[in-house]
């Protein structure tokens, strides 16, 4: 058992158990959790709701300038010249920067630095940044951008990844740093005898799937503010979810030593992966602040947020899945094309994830994936909630559903019997610890009435199931190093309060509250008595950021280590004064209590004062690094390996109007195995939010550019990019399953991304159950539903298919 993980079987009777004759026990007195796993008010919600909290755009500094970026109207063009003299001559304009000021390329993945803060010699998509103006106000900056003359030589643009890959013309290589034409990344991995097992399978399901691009849609647009102090220290406030990586890239591009830069992430208005790498605005405000000596702010317009994107990759996927007659999966063969857009972003990882994260919750005897990421002249794709694996999950879960029909097996039973189980290895050699997938399936099956209701639902109504898994952080950091992946510092003061210093980015998911819950649990003080200072590179230990669902497990473990060290000190000091063994001292309810004589107790403040008298100022640090036995022993075998995996099952109920093609999702039941839920309602919120986001991708959202109009975005606004509203969103019944993992703090695993994946194929499978059509591309829009219904009706008319199921006859079909 990892240091700090408690045995869930700890009984309250053990509180104050007599340890006198034992040597120094590793654990303090044990008791029922007093805060952990309950429902909490978040430590920072009230001030956010009252309008007190300052998000990045709420910062205002004396003498602050406002910046705007001039963006490319072309999808692909050479820059022949930029003349900013007229802009610079305008009253109120203080500075202009262009790509010439940012010749050092950067990239979130150290192996693929292939973008510049502003375009140097060419633009690669509509919306690429070309120049940035700092002026006395936004209106002046906008006018100055219009006064900048840019001479372009348009080039042929590629909007289709396969077309882009075919191009052999070096002059048409999209990305200026690419050495392999328009190939961004190719990964092919094979485990076991795929072809032999497929040949020997009783049933092989073949399918082609297309997952359209979608974007994050955080309500807060990106924003950054920079300030240079008289001593030359540069401070950048940014709405980022990766302050540490931003810190590193700023140092690299601006050629400043890291200790001369401070990055602060103010409270963040949503991210979902959309703020998980540096963007042009951060470099621009920093450079302009250095140049002008004045603070500079830049707030993206909503249109710029869409063009900056880094959202979900469109993926074209071809799957072959073999089954034995009894339903056992034999082998999976996947071929995937990823449409990457103009830059790498996280693309190297995405390409791996598109295959590597598929090998649970079902056991594959053999597996091959071949994934190719292409550059195209579109806004770059990157990580969106469920990075890289939402798309293949869509494909495989429909494959399973097709197999269930072909084999005459209940779709839940099929999944149950292929469950990889706990304490095992996947076909791609990832070590899986805890696994609550079976319970997830049973919970949604029971709650939905699947067994009795599904056979009885008439034509037009259906239930669909899907399952999934996700990582709780990646086993290795983005840049190789031997240092901890997470670290936390905690100080206690004599008033009875605790301060937590953490580099982790709270992006609304509640990570600050999660840390406070751990400290409250360990030190016996309420959340109100805990202050969390986070995501300030000057004040906090380094944390790698809010991505890959790593914070609860990694930062939680680091926090738990520091908190337990402090608890030991405090308990020891109290025990000494009471002349009892340390293990008798219990910290709870803002008190230190004698576990054997609960009438004897002192306030937490008194306990902390005794400890401070004994030890000096009370401060401890905790660090976390991943176990190194989780991954496969092959090139790429570390990518996708995680200390612990979450599991999810979604069950969707839909109603399909066969006349209009409108799909209404009536309810989604979702059960998610998050290990231990440290704060129940926050976990439910993550499950609900993820499920909603998947629902939106299934039915409504499309992040596409229009090739017929030169690659402009088809609808860069929150009206045209249709995100579900209050009235669109179905009822969501979130259920928590707790298969505690030995690698998580108190057993906790992730909850923020996993519960998105299977909501999409569950809806697809429910639509099949309702009306007998397979929708192998998202979104499931009425025209696509109608087209599929007509096709089915035509096949029924030709006698190739029987009617799907009884009920009101489909209207207007076969005509």
């Amino acid at each position: 058992m990892a240091d700090g993980a408690r045995d869930p079987s700890d009984s309250p009777e053990e509180v104050g158990g007599e340890p006198c004759d034992l040597p120094e026990a590793p654990e303090e007195a044990r008791r029922e959790p007093w805060v952990l796993g309950k429902i909490h008010r978040k430590v920072d919600a009230m001030e956010r709701m009252r309008g007190i909290t300052r998000y990045t755009d709420d910062l205002k500094l004396p003498g602050m300038l406002h910046a705007r970026i001039l963006r490319s109207p072309h999808a692909h063009a050479k820059i022949l010249g930029i003349d900013a003299s007229a802009a610079l001559a305008m009253p109120g304009v203080f500075g202009v920067v262009t790509g010439q000021d940012f010749k050092i390329p950067y990239g979130i993945i150290p192996w693929t630095p292939d973008e510049n803060a502003l375009a140097v010699d060419k633009v690669c998509h509509v919306g690429d940044g070309v120049a940035c103006v700092a002026a006395v106000d936004e209106d002046t900056a906008i006018a100055a951008c219009r006064a900048i003359k840019v001479e372009y030589e348009p080039l042929r643009a590629f909007f289709d990844p396969e077309e882009a890959l075919k191009s052999r013309d070096k002059a048409l290589t999209i990305n200026p740093y690419s050495r392999k034409g328009n190939l961004s990344k190719h990964v092919r991995l094979e485990f076991g005898d795929v072809d032999g097992l497929l040949d020997g399978s009783d049933v092989v399901i073949e399918g082609e799937y297309f997952f359209e691009g979608t974007t994050h849609g955080a309500i807060e647009p990106h924003c950054a503010v920079a300030l240079v102090e008289p001593n030359g220290i540069l401070t950048v406030w940014s709405a980022t979810q990766v302050s540490h990586y931003l810190h590193r890239e700023l140092a690299k591009v601006l050629q400043l030593p890291p200790h001369r830069i401070r990055v602060i992430q103010p409270p963040l208005g949503g991210a979902f992966g959309g703020k998980s790498e540096p963007f042009d605005l951060e470099f621009c405000v920093a450079k302009l602040a250095l140049q002008t000596g004045r603070p500079v702010k830049l707030l993206y317009t909503r249109e710029e947020v869409f063009y900056s994107h880094r959202g979900r990759h469109p993926m074209k996927m071809r799957y072959r899945t073999g089954f034995r007659r009894d339903g056992t999966i034999t082998a999976v063969d996947a071929k995937t094309i990823l449409d990457g857009g103009a830059y790498s972003s996280f693309g190297l990882v995405t390409t791996y994830y598109s295959g590597q994260l598929l090998c649970a919750p079902y056991n594959f005897q053999a597996y091959r994936f071949d994934s190719t990421r292409a550059y195209t002249n579109k806004p770059a794709c990157g990580p969106k909630r469920g990075h890289g694996s939402v798309q293949p999950r869509f494909a495989i879960e429909i494959q399973l559903d097709k197999a269930a029909v072909a084999l005459g097996i209940d779709p839940i039973e099929l999944r149950r019997q292929n469950d990889i189980g706990p304490g095992t290895r996947t076909v791609n050699e990832f070590k899986v610890g805890s696994n609550g997938f079976q319970e997830c399936l049973t919970r949604v099956e029971d709650a939905s009435g699947w067994k009795t209701r599904r056979p009885a639902l008439p034509y037009g109504q259906g239930l669909g199931i899907a399952g999934s898994t996700y990582i709780s952080g990646t086993n290795y950091p983005i840049y190789p190093n031997e240092m901890p992946q997470a670290a936390v510092q905690i100080c206690l003061d004599r008033s009875g309060r605790a301060r937590i210093f953490s580099g982790a980015n709270d992006i609304g998911q509640g990570s600050n509250t999660m840390l406070a819950v751990i400290v409250a649990e360990e030190l016996g003080i309420p959340l109100d008595d805990i202050r969390v200072l986070s995501a300030d590179t000057d004040l906090c230990p380094v944390d790698l950021g809010a991505y890959s669902s790593r914070i609860t497990l990694m930062v939680g473990n680091a926090c738990l280590e520091a908190a337990q060290r402090l608890r030991r000190k405090v308990c020891e000091s109290v025990a000494r004064r009471w002349q009892v063994p340390r293990r008798r001292v219990v910290l709870a309810g803002r008190m230190a209590i004698d576990g054997q004589d609960p009438d004897r107790h002192v306030s937490s403040a008194q306990a902390f004062q005794w400890a401070e008298a004994d030890h000096g100022l009370l401060g401890e640090v905790g660090s976390y690094n991943t176990p190194k036995d989780r991954h496969g022993d092959y090139r790429g075998g570390t990518i996708g390996a995680s200390p612990a995996y979450s599991f999810t099952a979604h069950l969707a109920e839909v109603e399909v109007d066969a006349e209009t093609g409108v799909v209404v999702v009536k309810k989604i039941w979702v059960a998610h195995d998050c290990g231990k839920a440290l704060s129940r309602r926050i976990v439910e919120g993550q499950i609900e939010g993820s499920t909603y986001m998947g629902f939106g991708e299934a039915l409504m959202e499309e992040h596409v550019v229009d090739p017929a109009h030169g690659g402009v975005h088809a609808g860069p606004s929150l009206l045209d990019y249709r995100m579900p509203t209050f009235t669109d969103t179905p009822e969501i019944a979130a259920m928590i399953v707790e298969a505690g993992d030995e690698n998580g703090p108190y057993g906790a695993k992730e909850a923020g991304e996993g519960p998105l994946h299977s909501s999409i194929p569950a809806i697809a499978n429910a639509i099949y159950d309702a009306v007998g059509i397979r929708l192998d591309r998202i979104p499931f829009s009425p025209p696509r539903v109608l087209a599929a219904l007509r096709e089915r009706a035509a096949r029924e008319a030709r006698g190739e298919l029987p009617p799907h199921k009884p009920g009101p006859a489909p209207q207007g079909g076969a005509a």
Binding site: K42, G217, A271, R681, S690, L718, T727, T729, I732
Partner: protein
């Protein structure tokens, strides 16, 4: 670039305010940039997201689509007013239900919800609340906890006690 400033006289959160601003500025710009009332958020600046929702003479309005001069002589209420004094039952319900994740859309939702509950003076159903809030986008929550909170607050308010409808188990603050 701003042209001659216009002098506006209005009430903001009950206080008389005189403020000079360029005539093309929206109410949102005046609130945020002139009066430093940052609770109202700019999410889209086009009336699509609802994060800037305030109340004008008690009726929800999108501050990003309202020219400031149209608020001349009128009474504007922002989320800052809701946050003054004893904890408002809506804020309390949102806090108990974890209805705010990132909190960026929340001020706008609170202003729309407050208008609904004040007008109805009775418990509202989930679907009534959803309809009233359909102009406000939230990207974090999937709306579930927000609806829980609005319905809960409507019950508290209609009981007229203003008291909280029961703390979450384990104590509100840990």
């Amino acid at each position: 670039m701003s042209g001659a400033a216009a002098l506006l006289t209005l009430r903001v959160n009950g206080d008389p305010v005189e403020v000079a601003a360029p005539p093309h500025w929206t109410l949102l710009e005046v609130l945020r940039y002139r009066l430093d009332l940052i609770g109202s958020k700019q999410g889209c600046d086009k009336g699509d997201c609802g994060a800037c929702t305030v109340q004008i003479d008690g009726v929800p309005a999108l501050a990003c689509l309202t020219l400031a001069i149209n608020a001349q002589g009128r009474s504007v209420t922002t989320v800052e007013a809701l946050g003054q004094g004893p904890v408002h039952p809506l804020l309390d319900a949102f806090d108990r239900h974890n209805a705010a994740q990132c909190g960026f859309c929340t001020p706008g939702i609170l202003m729309a919800a407050e208008a609904l509950l004040r007008e109805r003076r009775a418990p509202v159903s989930r679907s009534e609340a959803a309809t009233a809030l359909a102009g406000n986008l939230c990207r974090c929550t999937g709306y579930t906890k927000i609806l829980d909170a609005v319905v809960d607050a409507s019950e508290v308010l209609s009981r007229g006690t203003g008291a909280t409808a029961g703390e979450p188990e384990g104590g509100a603050h840990g």
